[in-house]
């Protein structure tokens, strides 16, 4: 099981993605300072493999949590 953090350009996008991925029980949370983002909210998702195609178009970045490190694994439109 992996833990992902998804950041967004807008709050609305976070809510849209949360609804689209509701089967994964995403948790809305503040964005860790190391990552930062244009919107203050992120989704924390635990799953084996996140399907990036299901992210909203205003999703910004996806990080894989590795200990205290955040590894960028997907980048949306800037």
């Amino acid at each position: 099981m992996r833990e992902y953090i998804v950041t967004f350009h807008t709050h609305l996008s976070a809510i849209k993605t949360s609804k689209a991925l509701s089967n994964l029980n995403p948790i809305i949370a503040p964005v860790p300072r190391k990552i930062s983002s244009s919107c203050g909210s992120c989704l924390r998702i635990n799953c084996d493999q996140l399907d990036f195609k299901k992210l909203d178009r205003d999703a910004h970045k996806v990080f894989l949590i590795n200990g205290e490190e955040y590894k960028l694994v997907w980048l949306g439109e800037e």
Binding site: H9, T10, H11, L12, I15, K16, S18, K19, I27, I28, A29, P30, S38, C39, G40, S41, D58
Partner: protein, 382 residues
């Protein structure tokens, strides 16, 4: 008591609106877009779903057919929505066209702006409440930036023929703004079909929600042109002193009226299921009322042949309209609204300025028996 002042605010509200608001205040209570935890995300989902409800009800969709949720802005009501468009778009030397039945929610901001070199022109309306829309092209100038139309007159109940002007607005690329204060929740309104740029909605009238909540639905194009008239915290890009450019944060500074949104969401559920029945019921009541008073020596304002909604205004000759309204209330418990209805321009158009009229506005809970009783009492006034 017979409440026929639904054009002021609807009563009663849709079932369970109060319960929904109470549930939010007493058992949920979290803010959105600020502290981020599970409970707040549930509130955020409710707000999101209410945006979706509004998109579906008014057909606010993107070009690909998806709901345009980001272009739903929650406001305190139609007045606030209209002010956001007027003050957010117009600059010195701009020009606006309005109908001759605008409410003061449009006319007062425009009057204020007329001192700042912003001009407005009124589409001619006759004493029967009909607007001369065929002449719209002649009113358009190079600097015309908006056309604002009161969809349903809050004096005559007549529907403005929006279909007849939308093509002209499109041809000249002028945003068409519809004030649906008296029509939303009483009839179907299709944002896309009417080629609107903005739809201004109160939650507390025909939508049967609580006071203090409303919405502004925008086209993507107008949203990009409008400047926010209120700036402040949005819970997003908080490190910046600039307002976010993205929607809806651009126009939603400060904490939203969340109890109001919970109540509105509940009332929209009711409207979604019952809109057609409401329209038919209110039309039936209006027809009975108009037929009942047809031969009485009062002036019923507006053209009876035009499409109209469930509100009727009467000017009582040789009587003071305020005295009539007071008589109806004190002797028979009939609650109406007399006076100017915040639309002196409309009353001037139909020739009922300054005496105003007594307005009877029916709602989904009024009954045929109530309407017949009012007719009988009006007959006794003769």
């Amino acid at each position: 008591m017979i409440y026929v002042d639904n054009a002021s605010t609807s009563f009663p509200k849709a079932p369970n609106v109060g319960d929904e608001m109470r549930e939010y205040i007493e058992n949920i209570g979290m803010n959105i877009n600020r502290g981020l935890y599970k409970e707040s995300s549930l509130v955020a989902e409710k707000v999101f779903e209410t945006r979706e409800q509004l998109c579906k009800l008014f057909n606010l969709v993107n070009k690909d057919g998806s709901l345009s949720v980001e272009n739903v802005i929650f406001t305190s009501g139609a007045t606030s929505s209209l002010n956001m468009v007027i003050n957010g778009l117009l600059k010195a030397n701009d020009h606006v066209i309005v109908s001759s039945f605008e409410h003061n929610s449009v006319m007062r901001p425009l009057k204020f702006l007329s001192n700042k070199d912003i001009e407005y022109t009124v589409i001619h309306g006759d004493v029967h409440g009909r607007s001369k829309v065929s002449g719209l092209k002649n009113l358009i100038r190079e600097n015309t930036k908006l056309v604002i139309i009161n969809h349903c007159s809050n004096i005559t109940g007549m529907i403005f023929p929006v279909e007849e002007i939308m093509a002209v607005c499109e041809e000249f690329n002028i945003p068409l703004v519809l004030d649906a204060a008296q029509s939303a929740g009483h009839m179907s309104i299709d944002f896309k079909r009417l080629k609107l740029s903005a739809l201004c909605l109160p939650g507390h009238k025909g939508l049967l929600g609580p006071q203090g909540i409303g919405a502004l639905l925008l086209s993507k194009e107008l949203a990009s042109k409008l400047e926010p008239t209120i700036q402040g915290g949005t819970g997003s890009i908080s490190h910046s002193l600039e307002m976010p450019e993205y929607m809806p944060d651009k126009f939603e500074s400060g904490t939203l009226n969340l109890p109001g949104i919970y109540g509105l969401s509940k009332s929209l559920e009711y409207i979604e299921k019952n809109l057609l029945n409401i329209e038919l019921h209110e039309k039936k009541l209006t027809d009975i009322f108009l037929k009942g008073i047809k031969d009485l020596p009062f002036r019923v304002v507006g053209d009876g042949k035009c499409k109209r909604l469930g509100l009727v205004s009467i000017d009582f000759p040789s009587k003071d309209n305020a005295e009539v309204a007071h008589f109806l209330e004190s002797n028979h418990g009939i609650l109406t609204r007399c006076g100017m209805h915040c639309s002196p321009i409309g009353h001037k158009t139909i020739g009922t300025y300054p005496q105003g009229t007594v307005r009877f506005s029916f709602g989904y809970k009024n009954t045929i028996e109530e309407v017949e009783k009012i007719v009988d009492i009006l007959k006794s006034l003769v």
